[in-house]
């Protein structure tokens, strides 16, 4: 069997790998835009969807990817990496994930390029779609906005995993064997998000202030701070984004259903496209802001609406004047050399406008430094109602002692003289009828004048009679001297009394009979 790759197969394979790399970058970056992606299925092949998957092409992303690749393909020791990082509004950033497209030496010489490899690459892209939603950075990216943004950076060369912190985890998306090597797609992601859990990135500005204090070890030295990015598209449209010539190469795939021996008759035909798919309707406004740091990632914030972004030609707008000068250099020329991976880091920061989704970072700075004073503390109490009183409930204490004499509760006013004799009699009854003989201070003594009496001259007058018989002596049987007798004595005397009564039973019975 012919193990050498035919030139056509080789060309096809190179093409597949190149577009696979570009589509991989698109899938990863689009998954970190922070919004839901939706593309339509189409039953009739349009000829422009590589790997039979509807993956839109964001021109800037394609441009960056091509710049990073610079005409080369992933090979042994030369991997294409997409770095996803998070940048807070304070300027701190942290690498979250590194997606690596690698090639190793393990070849599968017998595999069919135009058929099996292509389909397996398609399957691998589907797996990538699924896996990009599963790593922790997806949830972070869905919540990006005011407090932080997600940035991407593409580089080519050796994989650098040091920025992921300790204990990062790796998930393998899949592998596809080809006659020139095995393509491997994997993701290494940070798990040490201890001071940056997804919960802390909900939209509550005061909490953000506390989080900032936890940034003890900054991944980037503070000597090279990131510049604030302009989140809005500028008005003046200067340079239009250079269109990418061959990014929209059309791939019309047709497969043969003939038996494998006749498979060589199948061909892939592709034509250079006049208009790429999606380049007209994918106007993500893109801004460049200057950056000092060599490792400036690209920042992507998707448009606020899903799929409804008006086409705006992307152009550079600048935060500061100084930035503008630096800006021109990356735009004009691409300095990239494959031999030195470190220089492949781009010096521009790309940010997409999000139509009001991200406000100015300065607003946030003001809100960050609200310090909580303490629970239930509003302001110092300036007034004290009873400042000089040390006793509790001082305000309820009687304020003036002198007034006590005037207190009506203490000194009741004099009761008026009774006018009717009846009232008077009632009055005196109360005072004189009391067995204990208490006389209230409030009662006033008046003369007793009984009704219908002439006068009080005769000794046995009605009034006299009343007085004498008002206080009759108590019955002797009712006057019990309690102090002298006790219950115990009563009980003791009971048996004697019972004995006496029993003796006189007959008398009692006779008495009862007389009653009947």
């Amino acid at each position: 069997m012919d193990t050498d790759l035919s030139s056509q197969d080789r060309k096809d394979l190179d093409k597949f790998i190149k577009f696979f790399a570009l589509k991989t970058v698109q899938v990863i970056v689009q998954a970190r835009l922070g919004e839901k992606i939706c593309t339509r299925s189409s039953s009739s092949p349009t000829g422009s969807d590589w790997f039979n998957l509807a993956i839109k092409d964001i021109p800037e992303v394609t441009h960056e990817a091509k710049k990073a690749l610079a005409g080369q393909l992933p090979a042994v020791g030369r991997s294409m990496c997409v770095e996803i990082s998070l940048k807070t509004s304070e300027g701190d950033s942290m690498e979250l994930e590194i997606w690596c497209l690698e090639m190793n030496e393990k070849c599968d010489k017998e595999i069919k390029v135009s058929y099996t490899v292509y389909n397996r690459l398609s399957l691998l892209l589907k797996s990538l779609l699924a896996i990009t939603r599963v790593t922790p950075a997806y949830r972070l990216s869905r919540k990006q906005g005011h407090e932080y943004v997600i940035l991407y950076r593409i580089y080519f060369g050796e994989v650098q995993l040091s920025g992921l912190g300790e204990g990062f985890q790796t998930v393998r998306v899949g592998t596809v064997g080809t006659p020139v090597g095995t393509i491997t797609l994997s993701c290494a992601y940070r798990i040490n998000l201890a001071f940056m859990s997804t919960r802390q990135f909900e939209r509550t500005p005061p909490i953000m202030g506390i989080i900032i204090d936890h940034f003890v070890d900054r991944p980037y030295p503070s000597s090279s701070p990131m510049h604030p990015c302009n989140y809005r598209a500028g008005e003046d449209n200067g340079a239009v984004y250079p269109s990418v010539e061959d990014s929209q190469e059309v791939c019309t795939t047709s497969f043969s259903t003939s038996p494998p021996s006749q498979l060589s008759s199948s061909r892939l035909s592709y034509q250079p496209a006049a208009l790429g798919v999606g380049s007209a309707d994918m106007g993500y406004p893109v801004l460049f802001a200057g950056g000092l740091n060599a490792a400036h990632p690209h920042q992507l914030i998707g448009p606020g609406k899903e799929g409804g972004v008006p086409p705006v030609p992307s152009q550079p707008t600048h935060g500061t004047q100084a930035d503008q000068e630096r800006m021109c250099t990356p735009l004009d020329g691409v300095h990239y050399s494959a031999a030195t991976p470190s220089s492949s880091e781009d010096t521009e920061t790309v940010s997409n406008s999000s139509e009001g989704k991200c406000g100015s970072p300065h607003d946030l700075l003001e809100t960050i430094f609200i310090r909580k004073v303490g629970a239930f503390v509003n302001k110092p109490i300036n007034q004290v109602t009873m400042a000089n009183l040390d006793i509790p409930f001082a305000m309820f204490a009687p304020k003036n002692v002198e007034l006590e004499d005037n207190d009506p509760m203490v000194n009741p006013p004099e009761s008026p003289e009774t006018e009717s004799p009846l009232q008077g009699s009632l009055h005196s009854e109360g005072s004189s009828g009391s067995s204990t003989g208490n006389t209230h201070d409030d009662f006033v003594m008046i003369d007793f004048k009984p009704a219908f009496s002439k006068d009080d001259i005769l000794p046995m007058d009605l009034g006299t009679f009343y007085r004498e018989f008002q206080n009759p002596p108590q019955l002797s049987s009712l006057s019990i001297d309690i102090g002298a007798q006790s219950m115990a004595e009563d009980l003791d005397s009971l048996p004697e009394k019972l004995a006496v009564h029993e003796k006189n039973v007959k008398e009692f019975d006779a008495f009862v009979e007389t009653l009947q």
């Binding site: 839901k36 992606i37 939706c38 593309t39 339509r40 299925s41 189409s42 039953s43 009739s44 092949p45 349009t46 969807d49 039979n52 998957l53 509807a54 058929y115 397996r120 398609s122 399957l123 691998l124 589907k126 797996s127 779609l129 699924a130 896996i131 939603r133 599963v134 790593t135 997806y138 949830r139 869905r142 998930v171 393998r172 998306v173 899949g174 592998t175 596809v176 019309t252 795939t253 047709s254 497969f255 043969s256 259903t257 003939s258 008759s265 199948s266």
Partner: protein
């Protein structure tokens, strides 16, 4: 039993079942209201990998393939999001199957344990009077255990935990898919209906059928394949 819109049923092949069919089992423990979304997430992820664009056959035995679109789905009761094929017909078919499974799980005699199976099969034509054989080549079984939670705090924890578990399941599924094990070879135009479900208008999944079993409290499984047994005897 829910499957593609083909009315012709085929008898299961016992021989084929043993030989080429690879079987994968996934287990999840979810709350009652999470059953639907969890099942849909897993089934859609599997079908994303097992669907292609529509085939268009041309002369000279060549064919071209349509485009498969995808879309993100957010779960309401789980902290989770997944990608599915952009096909309303396929989504409807899966929702119908999962809905029946969920109702059966809730029904009486169920301890909240059951399993739903997604089987990919090929049809093999037989001569008359024998009906076609269905030869499964991949079987996914998702075992479900429904838990009851007491309070809102537990539910919140469950949301997150089930989300993490589903992430693991997606990684497992992708791992299996990328082993590149047996797949039916691409069919000719006359054979395409034996390999693919061509009834959908925008995508073309491999022929599949979904069935489920509920474990009742006695531990025996009341299967929905009772009908299938009857059909088997009638077919022969």
């Amino acid at each position: 039993m829910v499957g593609p819109g083909r009315s012709r049923c085929c008898a299961p092949s016992s021989a084929g079942r043993a030989m080429n069919c690879r079987a994968e089992v996934l287990e999840v423990s979810v709350e009652g209201r999470q059953v639907e979304e969890a099942m849909l997430a897993v089934l859609h992820t599997i079908l994303l990998h097992r669907s292609t664009g529509k085939f268009h056959y041309k002369k000279e035995g060549t064919y071209s393939i349509g485009t498969v679109g995808t879309q993100d789905v957010d779960c309401d009761f789980i902290d989770f999001a997944y990608v599915r094929v952009s096909s309303e017909e396929l989504d409807r078919a899966l929702r119908k199957a999962v809905g029946e499974f969920k109702d059966a799980l809730r029904g009486s005699g169920s301890d909240g344990m059951g399993q739903i199976s997604l089987e990919f099969y090929q049809k093999k034509k037989s001569r008359w009077p024998f009906s076609d054989e269905c030869i499964p080549w991949e079987l996914w079984t998702i075992k479900v255990n429904v838990v009851n939670l007491a309070n809102e705090q537990e539910r919140q924890i469950c949301r997150e935990k089930v989300g993490e578990k589903l992430c693991e399941k997606i990684i497992n599924i992708v791992e299996v898919m990328n082993r590149h094990e047996y797949l039916p070879k691409m069919p000719t135009q006359s054979e395409v209906d034996n390999v693919f479900d061509t009834s959908l208008k925008d995508v073309q999944p491999y022929l599949y059928k979904i069935s489920y079993q509920i474990t009742d409290s006695l531990g025996t499984s009341v299967t929905t394949t009772m009908r299938r047994l009857i059909k088997d005897t009638l077919a022969l």
